[in-house]
Amino acid sequence: MAKDRIEARRRQGPSRRQLLQGGAALGAAAAMGGLAPQALAQEKIKLTIWAWTPKTQELANLYSKKNPNVEVVVENVGQGAPHYVKLRNAITAGTGLPDLGQIEFNSIPSFRALNALANIGKDGANSVKDAFVDWTWSAVSDGDAVYGLPWDSGPMATLYRADVYEKHGLQPAETWDDFAEQATKLAQDAPGTYLTDFANDSGWTAAVLWQAGWRPFKTEGSKIQIRINDDVAKKWANYWQKLIDAKAVDTKPGWTSEWFAAFDDGTYAAWVTAGWAPVLMQQAMKKSFGKWRAAPMPQWEKGGKVTSNWGGSTFAAFTTTPHPKEAADLAAFLTTDPEVSRKWNTEAYLFPVLKSLLADKDLMGHKYDFYGGQAVNEIFAASAAEVDPSFEFSPFQDYVNSQIEDNFAAAVSGKGTLAEAFDRIQDTVVTYAKDQGFEVT
């Protein structure tokens, strides 16, 4: 469900402002666009894609233009959770799966566990490996096996209200210790104003814990290592517990219209968030235009350069497709073609995963009036290069997410602490994993 919510917000239709007009500077990317030529189908075929992003059919049609034998049909079967429910139903039924599907990074292991994702590594997908930011490639691959091609991402940074910061003499926090200090100070100076909201969102939780060094899962076939309540988690839990107990941060649920309004009127001053958030905020805010800025994500070590990722998707081919080669080629085209990959960013507002686009000064240097003329994408692009690639999601991430949210909810409403919540999550997830036939170590 959390995924559903994230997606719902980050793809909230086109904004009035175009991110970019021009379209030069394709230099580095020009070599890409589909896999190396190979023997693809000569007869007419049809490939189906399930995805919920805007403009998808339009951009997929560009493939048919270059490959007249291939008709591409994009179907939107729902956003986030309903999309996955339908995929799982089709997998269970053994029929009805599309050739390609949108699979978010955190769902790749879950669908791999169902043996639903085709290994397109043997269909030449490894040839585009170097085009992608490292962590995105490790999220979709396993040695030479490739289970999807990275499409968009959400590297973490901070969005904050310059006006509120200025009024209370705050600077963007370099470290999490500074952040906690500022939160406490702000709550004292201006009761009713909070530095941020601890919104109990499992996607956000995984992202900020990822940065802290939390590595809860390690899956190898049917063996899984589960370390949800490790020292990193406990330290992180105590950090936030202190702020919650001191009422230095708010604990309202995220993603509600009230929550957005609280950012808009300056009740909340900062949001540590992902690369898809700048455009989202620009669309969601009404009166705080021009007052927003971006800054790097706070670090656990002073001078550190470790970030993480929240959200983002891949194109994955399913094992049932009768045209695996063509599906792989289409996925490669949609993710690496210079024109298409650029348009995902400028027209659908997806944050890129290609090194060439992240290095593109024109694209990343775009100045937003909403952010007082700041080129906010540069901050997020810098973060993309610092994402630690060693994080692994579990093969039953939806269940883990629901357990995180259930147990955090209890802690936030005063039943125990966050640290105890991690212990309970560890227990239920271990029980679940064993029940699902995994060998838990």
Binding site: L114, E258, S402, E405
Partner: protein, 300 residues
């Protein structure tokens, strides 16, 4: 002549015997296809277990054994029992009061009020919940704004203590009109001469309503309580839709149906979810039967 008739009679009788079944056939087909078959399918599901590793195997009644001692399931049932004890008396008394007032003939534009009371039932639960979600909004909702204007503390409709009442209020708003229509129809069927008779005996309109009309629609009241018990134990849409607003008090096993839903679609435990659904069905049957027994004893 008699022989002629006698010769035909068996055919007529057979025709009469078959006709009802032929007429029932469309219903029976749909009933079997969309209720019986899925139930058999679900029951079969509940006897198996599918794991991510290891596939599907037959486990007999293991899932049921697990459901019977699952605190997540029983906490949901207990919550709904408490919910029902708040929600049903309020909703049904309101419905009854409205029906009696409308039936008394004291109200002008009766048809208008009848429709106005019934209208919320025509609003889909999704819309109703979103609407109330906005009204309850803790910082910017209209009630919070009024409280702020009057310098009162803003009410928190999503706190742990308030959430049951908040959801109950939505369902009361939704279903009072529906129950009122049932009562109203029953009241309309009471013969007018009873009113004359009671007037001649010196009964006031109030006495007539309470002493004559009310006892005559008791069977209908029993039916509506029955419906409410069943509806309450299956509560799903309202808490599900309000989750995003009240995540800290509504968890993934808030009500039994909510639990069955998350088991199936979040945890991918379709088999256990099917078992939970059947156990919930049994709980509904037990509660309904207990109520029937109690009301039979009461009316005897």
């Amino acid at each position: 002549m008699t022989r002629f008739l006698a010769g035909h009679r068996p055919r007529v009788i057979i025709g009469k015997k078959i006709a009802p079944y032929v007429l029932l056939l469309p219903f029976v087909l749909v009933f079997v296809a969309f209720l019986i078959v899925p139930m058999i399918y679900a029951f079969n599901l509940s006897l198996h277990k599918t794991a991510l590793v290891g596939g599907t195997r037959f486990v007999g009644f293991d899932n049921y054994a697990r459901a019977f001692v699952d605190p997540n399931f029983w906490s949901g049932v207990w919550l709904l029992v408490r919910f029902g004890f708040i929600q049903m008396p309020i909703m049904l008394s309101l419905a009854l009061a409205f029906a009696l007032i409308l039936d008394s003939g004291l109200v002008y534009a009766r048809g208008l009020f009848r429709i106005a009371f019934f209208l919320p039932y025509a609003v889909p639960a999704v819309i109703a919940t979103l609407m109330w979600g906005y009204i309850y909004g803790p910082a910017y909702g209209p009630l919070a704004q009024i409280a702020a204007f009057l310098s009162l503390p803003k009410p928190d409709f999503f706190s742990e203590n308030a959430i049951l009442g908040s959801i109950a209020n939505i369902t009361i708003w939704e279903y009072t009109g529906y129950n009122m229509i049932i009562y109203f129809a029953a009241l309309q069927a009471i013969p007018a001469d009873l009113e004359e008779a009671s007037k001649m005996d010196g009964a006031s309109a109030f006495t007539y309503a309470v002493r004559v009309k009310l006892p005559m629609i008791v069977p209908m009241i029993i039916v509506t309580i029955m419906f409410s018990i069943i509806g309450t134990l299956q509560l799903f849409s309202e808490p599900y839709l309000i989750t995003n607003l009240a995540r800290s008090v509504i968890n993934s096993h808030f009500t039994p149906n909510y639990y069955a839903y998350t088991l199936a679609f979040t945890a991918q435990q379709y088999n256990y979810s099917a078992a939970i659904s059947f156990v919930l069905g049994a709980v509904v049957a037990v509660f309904s039967y207990a109520f029937m027994l109690a009301s039979n004893r009461g009316t005897r």
